[in-house]
Each structure stands twice: as C-alpha cells, then as structure tokens.
C-alpha cells in the first residue's frame, strides 16, 4: 500500500473509516511499520474530538499508536509525559487542547502514544507543514471520530478508506456504503475555468455563485438550505449553466434541484462536502445534471476488515470480491488476513 502512495509522489495521506472500530489503527500501525522498514520518516497526527480517551460510540479504549524511533508525532504534552523518556520535544504547534498544549516530538526509540488534541482541519494542515520543515517525508493523518473530514484535500493529498464489519449488519449494506463513498470520491475535478473561479468565490465569500454565458453572478444564499420557492425563483431567472456551492450538498438539497429540473453543473469544494446517496445522485444525473469538485481528494485504496469487534465476521473472500467489484480499479487489501 505504502509503495503505491510513494510511487504517486504523495507526501501526506489520511486514513478514514466509515464507522467506529473498523480497524483504522491497525491500518495506521501497518503503514507506519512499513515506512519504518523502508527508512521513510513519518509524522503522525490524529484529527478528532478533543480529549477523546474512549471511542465515543462504543466506549472501547482507543488503542495507542505504534511509533518507531525517529518518527514525529503531534499530540498533547501530558500524553508525551506518560513515556517522557521516549521523546525529544521539539516544537509548539500553537494549539491548546483540553488535554494540554499540542506539541511536536520525535521518538528517541520505538514507543507507543495516544494521538489527541487536534480537532480543526487548519491545525492539521499547519502541523503537516511543521513536520515537513523538521524533515518528515510522509505525514499520516488518522481521521478519528470525525470520519470523512480528514480526507479534506486541504490537509492530505490522498486517503485510504477502511471499511469493516462494524459498519453494518449485512455485507450488502457495507458494500453499498462503500460504493457510495467511492463514487462520491471519484467524481471528477472541475476543469471549466469559469466554474472553477465561481467555486473559489463561493468558498471565499461563503455564498452561492451561478454561471451563465461565461459570467459569474452571486446568488443571495449562503447554502441550499432555503425554501424551494426562493430557490426556484433564482434558478429560473436565467438558464444557468452551473452553480458553485460553498458548503455541504445533502440529499434534501440535491432532490430539490432535481425537482426544479434544471440540468445544472454543480461544483463543490471537495468530496468531504458531498453527503448525497447514490439513489439521489442517480436521479440528478438522469435529468442531465453533473457534479465536480474544485479540489479532488485522491482515494488510494480500500482496506477491508471483515471482523467486527463484537466477534462477528463476514466471509473474508466474499467481502474482498464484492468490495473489489464496486471500487475497481482501486486496490483492496484485507488488513486482517493479508500477509506482510
């Protein structure tokens, strides 16, 4: 897996999970060990809920992360103090968390640590720069509780998604959820320069912008959460070619646009803003609409974990085959069974 990341010239990646306990930490530890074997120095940071000692959902203790000698981490000072002799504390990050100041440290020898204290995307991006300045070759962001947010292309250049037995009671549902994510993540990047410009403006000014005959016009909304009548009125003013949306796109909003019936080209910031289901997406496409992103996150692969922490397991072979069928040509690997 790491080989693939490096071959693409990426220097940062995130690990995202579609549910609690899917096995993200196992994947993280595996990647870190692999990087260590290849003598690639890594910087590790987790983005999640502040002070999250236990998994919010299941109440299980969150496992510490394995850190080989020479690796960098960003975590709250008191968590470093637990194994103080293992660390050279190098820099402040300027982030103050509920657990304490978030500091950057280098492991003097292999050790374990809990990563905590970072909740905002901008902070994770800043820490990525600090890691780089210190000489880390690869930043790995563990997308804790927040799930998809760590895949924000603003933070990391690529993502690995972990899907597992804890996501849903049936394999059908797991496959469907995975297909949805893969589909949303692999929608194209916007190539129309006018729409790109409109999207930049939409994001900067937190307002919707519409494009007609090469001209960009602001719409009087900051999101699509507006009464249908108002939206319909604005959309019918001109035969708009496309609309740039600053925030999230939900099933409700996309259904509304589908009902209004305009074959619009929608531009979103990035895939983490897209929350629509495949069924709703399909209907929008049927009326001639399309969706693209200003910045695409690259999905590098899917890690599967057939086992759920409650002991239940899907048939690993079947799971791998079915997941592969919905996400090909992305590589799929089994974090439990694949040999090193």
């Amino acid at each position: 897996m790491l080989q693939r990341v490096l071959k693409q010239g990426l220097d940062s990646l995130s690990i995202i999970g579609l549910a609690k306990n899917v096995g993200k930490t196992t994947v993280l530890n595996g990647l870190v060990a692999e990087a260590h074997e290849k003598e690639i120095s890594v910087g590790l940071v987790s983005i999640g809920v502040d002070g999250e000692e236990r998994d919010v959902w299941s109440g299980r203790l969150k496992p510490p992360v394995y850190v080989p000698a020479g690796s960098f981490v960003a975590t709250a000072g008191p968590l470093l103090d637990l194994e103080g002799y293992s660390w050279e504390v190098i820099a402040e990050t300027g982030v103050q968390s509920a657990v304490g100041k978030v500091l950057i440290a280098r492991a003097l020898h292999s050790t374990n640590v809990k990563l905590a204290g970072i909740t905002a995307a901008e902070d994770a991006a800043k820490i990525d720069h600090q890691f780089r300045a210190l000489g880390a070759q690869l930043t790995i962001v563990d997308g804790a509780y927040d799930r998809k947010a760590a895949a924000n292309p603003f933070i990391t250049k690529g993502s690995i998604c972990v899907v597992g037995g804890s996501m849903a009671p049936t394999l059908d549902q797991v496959v469907e959820k995975t297909a949805e994510l893969v589909h949303l993540f692999t929608l194209p990047e916007c190539t129309d320069p006018t729409l790109q410009l409109a999207a930049e403006q939409a994001i900067n000014q937190r307002q919707l912008f519409a494009v007609h005959e090469g001209k960009i016009t602001p719409l009087p909304f900051s999101s699509l959460f507006v009464p249908e009548k108002m939206l319909r009125m604005e959309l019918e003013r001109k035969p708009w070619k496309g609309i740039a949306i600053p925030g999230a796109l939900t099933n409700r909003s996309l259904s509304l646009l589908t009902r209004i019936g305009r074959p619009l080209q929608l531009v979103l910031n990035n895939p983490t803003c897209n929350f629509v289901s495949l069924a709703v997406l399909r209907r929008f496409f049927q009326i001639g609409g399309s969706i693209s992103y200003l910045r695409r996150s690259r999905l590098l692969g899917i890690a599967i974990n057939p086992v759920s922490p409650s002991g239940f397991s899907f048939d690993p072979q079947e799971m791998r085959e079915r997941i592969t069928s919905v996400c090909s040509p992305l590589p799929v690997f089994d974090i439990v069974r694949d040999p090193v």
């Binding site: 196992t26 530890n29 595996g30 060990a33 000072g77 008191p78 470093l80 103090d81 103080g84 002799y85 660390w87 050279e88 504390v89 190098i90 820099a91 402040e92 304490g100 100041k101 500091l103 280098r106 003097l108 020898h109 292999s110 057939p306 086992v307 002991g311 239940f312 397991s313 048939d315 690993p316 974090i335 439990v336 069974r337 694949d338 040999p339 090193v340």
Partner: protein, 537 residues
C-alpha cells in the same frame, strides 16, 4: 468605569482596540486586564510614552531588527503553569521542561536583540542567568531549543537505555526466528499484527492447534487466529524489559525532581522575566498600533486639551473608501464647558468622536492620531452620543440619553463629558430649553464638557467657550449647481468641516434653507421661510 459601553460604541473603541495586538500569550492576557492611566499617575504615563518613543526610534532605524524581535515574541510560550508547579514542588514532565526551555531560549534571543540597540534596560535579568538555565536544560551539546531526558542527567540512564534496546532486539529476533520456523514448517504467513489467520476448514488448523509454540487467540465463523506464545527465555527477557522500563521511569522521576530543585532558585528571576517581557510586549503592540495611525506623543497639560491635525482612524478609513478625505481636527478646549455649533452634516459629531478617541487612547498610554496633542488625565470619559442618524427615533432615544446624562451629572468626580445634541429627541421648544439649561448647569458647575448642538439659544449662556463648524460655502455651492453638478457632489466638496472660535455675533447658520432651495423647493417658500426667521429674530 473609565469608558462605559455606550461611550466605547460611540467612539468606535472596539475597532481601534482590536488593532492593539500583543504577540505573547502573557501580553494578550495583560491586554484584557489593561487599565488606563488615571489622574495622579502622570509620571508613569509620561514614562510609558517615553519608552515607546525609544522603541519607535529603534524600529524606524532598523525595521529588520523589529521583525526579529517580533519573531521571538511570537514564539515565547506561557510558562505560568510551569512556574506554578515549580513553586508548589509538583512533578514536571518532559513537555513542561520543553515549554520552560522554549521560554528561556526565546527570551534570551529577545534580550540579545535589545542589546544590539542599547535597549537592554528593558530587562533586569542578565545573560548569565539564561546561560545557567540553558546549561541545566541542555546538559549535552549542541545547544538546541528542544528538550529530552539526556543521558547526561543521570549516569544510570545510558546503561538502562542500552539494556532496553538490546532486550527489545533480542525479543524481536527471537520471535522472528521462531515465527519463521513455524512458517517454514506449516506453510502459513503472518499478517501485519504478527498473527496467523487461517481458514477454519484447512487441514493445517489441526496441526497449528496441536503445536505447543502457538496459541489460539480468537476465531470467526471463517477463520482461526493463532499467535506465537512466548518461550521461557522470552518470558524472562520480557520481564527484565518491564523491570528496566520501571527503572528508567524511576530515574526520569528523580531527574525531573533534581532538575526542579536546580531551577527553583531562578524562580523569582523567571517571574521577573515574564513581567518584563509582558510589559515590553504591551509597549511594542502599542507602538505598532500607533504606527498604523502615524500617532504623535501626547503631552500633559493641566488646564486644557489642545489637538492639532487630529483624526479618527476608523472614520478616516471609511471616508477614504468613498474617495473622501478626513478634515483634520484642530481644537482647543479650556477647562469648562465648550459648545460646538454648526449646520447638519457639518461634522460636529465626528469632531466629538475624534476628541473622544484621542483622549481615550492617550490615557491608555498610546501615541494618538494627531499631529500634536496635549491634554490632562481624566478619571473618566463619558459620551452621550447618538448614532447621528436617529434624530427621529423619538422619546425612547431621548429618554435613554437623559437617563445617561443624569447618571454622569450626579457623579462626584468631574470627567470629560461629550454631549451630542441634548434635547434633539423631543419637540424644538422643549429641546432648545433643555439644551440651554443643561449647558448652563455644566458651565456653572465648571464641568469639563463639550456640547455639540444646533440650538442657537445655547450660545447665549454666559461663561462658555464657543466653537462653530465653518459649514457650507453657499456662494460656491450656487455656482457649482449652476454648472450642472449634483447636490451630493457639491455638499461633499464644499462643506467646510473645520472648527473655528465663535468671535462675535455671527448669523445663525440657515443652511438647511439653502440645501432645500438647491433640492428644488420653490423660491417663494424659501423666501417666506427666510422672512419668518428675520421677523422672529
């Protein structure tokens, strides 16, 4: 309260205050609690201004030096918690020592930069103190700003760490060899976690289960998971490793305790350094803010306020955005009551806001937005100033203003009162009477007040100082309009906002009629209005 909320809003205090940006966490904390200089603190006030003058000179001479200073200030951490723990003899961890070392590192660089400009008087802590502290926090060369538990702290550390590493290597290699033997024997391969996950129905499961070297950790409906069980030798190593780790932790504790003992004698110097740095940070931030408005140093004057070329940075910027210029404020206010009279839109309220912001900034120890300025220190500054556009807001505004005014007039101490058109919220007859009566009361009690009004009755009160805004240049406006230009344009160009003393019996400004005429009101109505004023007068 020196500046109450309404006064702050009236003089756009928060917009100005947000330009005052200390760079250290301690400076930001101190900003929240910063008090103005009060009457009686004139010497401290003068010192504050003098210090900024010196800083400003150094910064101007060498802007690169200024940027360096700011880099150090930005990196100084808050060590309050560390000092607190040191004082109470609490256990400190490596992250605490790192924070302290960062502080020492940055403050030392700051001090060295001060030396470059002969400004080392800002701190009483000598280089030797910082050197001693760095030696404690950095026992092995090279000198770096990071912190770790160096082997030099305790002679046992090096040996323990070596033992730990060699044990870990032994355990790893031992397990690796054993795992390889298993894999060779049974043809199975490990996953990333070092486990063998084997499909239940495979023949090999039976053999793996029977093997003494392996343990079955869990199973799913599809797989059985095996791990390598530790051998007796490995168990001994693991237990020794635990012991070594415990010893390291014990040594770490001892080192931290010893370090605390050695650092504690510097506690009072560290506390002083925090105070000195905070003071410097505030002064630097004051200077930076004043540089934005090209401020001048205010001087002390016991009995009058004198401002030359004053302006309000916020209003000036708003005008600039519209392509207009702020007319500099020249003003002299002797102790007592001053009345400013002038036409609507003539800049009276702006003059009041500008006076307010200049006096308030001066008392907080800032250089002020003016060419020259002298003033006394007041116990408070209070404004009864509407937003200038709400003259029709009615009795609620009137009531609120009167209530505010009453509150100030019943105070013992005399502060600076800024009054904007008292009485305008009610009918003209009562309004004018009230305006005049308030002014008379202030004049008699020798209040330090500035009252902006357009009720000419107020000018009749004895013992007041009178200023007027110059207002519209009427003849030029007529020409301007005859030339086909718009009224709005004409008003913008030809309104003279300057203040001049009222010398004799200038005619009451009647420019509302001029404006009404220019806006197209029939000549006969305007003439009639002028006649009515003449006969009333």
């Amino acid at each position: 309260m020196f500046l109450d909320e309404s006064t702050q809003a009236a003089i756009y205090w928060s917009q100005i205050w947000s330009r005052f940006q200390p760079l250290t966490p301690m400076g930001r904390e101190a900003k929240r609690e910063l008090l103005p200089f009060m009457p009686g603190q004139e010497t401290a006030w003068e010192n504050t201004l003098h210090e900024q003058e010196l800083l400003w000179q150094s910064e101007e001479k060498d802007p690169d030096w200024g940027r360096r200073i700011e880099t150090y200030l930005r990196k100084v951490p808050d060590i309050e918690n560390v000092l607190f723990s040191l004082e109470r003899d609490e256990q400190l961890g490596v992250s605490d020592w790192f924070i302290l070392k960062q502080f020492v590192w940055q403050v030392r660089l700051w001090r060295k930069s001060l030396e470059e400009q002969d400004l080392e008087g800002w701190t009483t802590i000598k280089e030797e103190v910082w050197e001693s502290l760095l030696t404690l926090l950095n026992p092995t060369p090279p000198l770096t700003p990071s912190f770790y538990l160096a082997d030099a702290y305790d002679q046992r550390l090096s040996a323990l760490r070596k033992r730990l590493q060699s044990l870990e290597k032994q355990i790893r290699e031992h397990r690796e060899e054993a795992a390889k033997r298993i894999e060779a024997e049974f043809g199975v391969r490990r996953n990333r976690a070092g486990e063998w996950v084997v499909e239940r129905d495979r023949e090999v499961v039976k053999h793996l289960e029977a093997d003494q070297r392996l343990g079955r950790v869990r199973e799913t409906p599809f797989d059985v998971v095996f791990v390598l069980l530790p051998t007796k030798v490995e168990e001994a190593w693991v237990s020794e490793r635990e012991q070594v780790l415990d010893e390291i932790k014990q040594v770490e504790k001892e080192v931290c305790r010893r370090l605390a003992r050695e650092v504690r004698p510097f506690l009072s110097q560290l506390v002083s350094a925090v105070e000195e740095l905070t003071h410097f940070d505030l002064q630097w931030a004051r200077m930076r803010a004043a540089q934005e408005w090209r401020g001048c140093r205010p001087h002390l004057a016991a009995d009058k306020v004198q401002i030359r070329g004053g302006f309000h940075p916020v209003i000036a910027e708003q005008l600039e955005e519209k392509g207009q210029l702020f007319t500099p404020l020249d003003m002299e206010l002797p102790q007592g009551t001053t009345v400013i009279i002038g036409p609507n839109m003539g800049g009276k309220t702006v003059a009041l806001r500008t006076l307010g912001i200049i006096c308030a900034l001066a008392q907080y120890g800032f250089f002020v937005p003016a060419k020259a300025c002298s003033l006394p220190l007041y116990p408070y500054i209070a404004g009864v100033i509407g937003d200038g556009q709400d003259t029709q807001a009615g009795l609620s505004t009137f009531g609120a203003e009167v209530a505010r005014l009453s509150k100030f007039l019943t105070q013992e101490q005399v502060g600076l009162l800024l009054l904007d058109e008292i009485g305008r919220g009610t009918n003209p007859v009562e309004g004018a009477a009230l305006s005049a009566a308030v002014t008379a009361y202030l004049a008699e009690k020798k209040w330090w007040a500035v009252h902006v009004t357009h009720y000419h009755e107020v000018l009749q009160i004895p013992g007041i100082y009178k200023l007027r805004t110059l207002g519209l240049k009427e003849e030029e406006l007529a020409e301007h309009l005859a030339g086909g230009s718009s009224l709005a344009e004409g008003l913008k160009l030809l309104m003279d906002y300057r203040l001049v003393p009222v010398t004799g019996q200038e005619p009451i400004p009647q420019q509302a009629l001029t404006i009404a005429h220019a806006l197209g009101l029939p000549e006969t109505i305007v003439t009639d209005a002028r006649q009515r004023i003449a006969s009333d007068g």
